[in-house]
């Protein structure tokens, strides 16, 4: 088992820092190029959400995003947290094409991509209390359930 935790300023330039870090962290699992691409996309969506929606464009300079990653056997766990405005209606926010920022050309596909590219997605949020996004993905071709002899 391996784990890591990083904290970075909630600015858009750190979206690539976050996905590069996860890509490097998952290499011991021997992922395929497709799996790396899946995870990078999901992380990019979650961090972008924290930067744009959690804190808004004109946020204070000391606002931070925390990313925790854990490898258990061949499963990658990722948690991305912010202490921003939170989400009022999580079900609504997760609907494909739903966005609160159409003027910024946000496509409303963020959560849909996270769901599609990861095996499991869980969102915890409350207005004023920030947002936590948990994502899980099994890496590699071995089946979920071990074969019986």
């Amino acid at each position: 088992m391996n784990r890591m935790r990083m904290e970075f300023r909630a600015v858009s330039v750190n979206e690539s820092l976050a996905r590069m870090t996860v890509a490097a962290f998952m290499t011991p699992l021997n992922p395929t190029l497709e799996e790396i691409s899946d995870v990078k996309t999901a992380v990019s969506e979650a961090v972008t959400n924290a930067v744009i929606h959690g804190y808004g464009e004109d946020h204070e300079s000391d606002e931070m995003v925390v990313m925790e990653c854990r490898i258990e056997k061949d499963v990658l766990h990722i948690t991305i947290m912010d202490e921003g405005v939170g989400i009022e209606n999580i079900d609504k926010a997760m609907e494909p094409l739903f966005t609160t920022k159409p003027e910024q050309e946000r496509s409303g596909m963020g959560f849909s991509f996270m769901e599609a590219f990861m095996d499991d997605l869980h969102v915890e949020s409350e207005p004023g209390k920030g947002t936590k996004v948990h994502m899980i993905k099994k890496i590699g071709l071995t089946p979920w359930i071990e074969k019986e002899d």
Binding site: S12, V13, E15, S16, R19, E34, S37, K40, T41, S44, E45, T48, V51, I52, Q104, E105, R106, S107, M109, G110, S112, F113, A116
Partner: protein, 106 residues
């Protein structure tokens, strides 16, 4: 970065960066819009040759430009698309709005 935007005839060629995310999106959209509004072109060609990563911010760029060029009777093209970018374009339904040309072997 001016060389990333080039007008050929009635087509604006946009050479996209290696990674397209929210950080890059505004710069690309703003520059494309500027050239469209000057009336220099009415079609936009997004070239994914160098692009290895795109998240949903890329969908916003393409869908937004698609709406703009509709006013000029223009079209949007995506060229040199690999299988990872293809997946993103299909999942968002953009394949029904724009013309896609794939990279060899994809």
């Amino acid at each position: 970065m001016e060389e990333y935007f080039k007008v050929i005839g009635n087509y604006l060629m946009v050479k996209l960066p290696e990674e397209i995310d929210h950080h890059q999106a505004n710069y690309i959209s703003r520059n494309v819009d500027k050239i469209l509004m000057q009336g220099k072109a009415s079609n936009v060609v997004f070239d994914f040759e160098d692009t290895k990563f795109m998240d949903s911010s890329g969908i916003g760029i393409i869908a937004g430009r698609y709406k703009k060029v509709l006013c000029f009777d223009g079209k949007v093209y995506a060229i040199n698309v690999d299988k990872y970018i293809k997946r993103i374009l299909y999942m968002s339904g953009l394949d029904k709005m724009i013309e896609i040309l794939y990279k060899e072997g994809n």
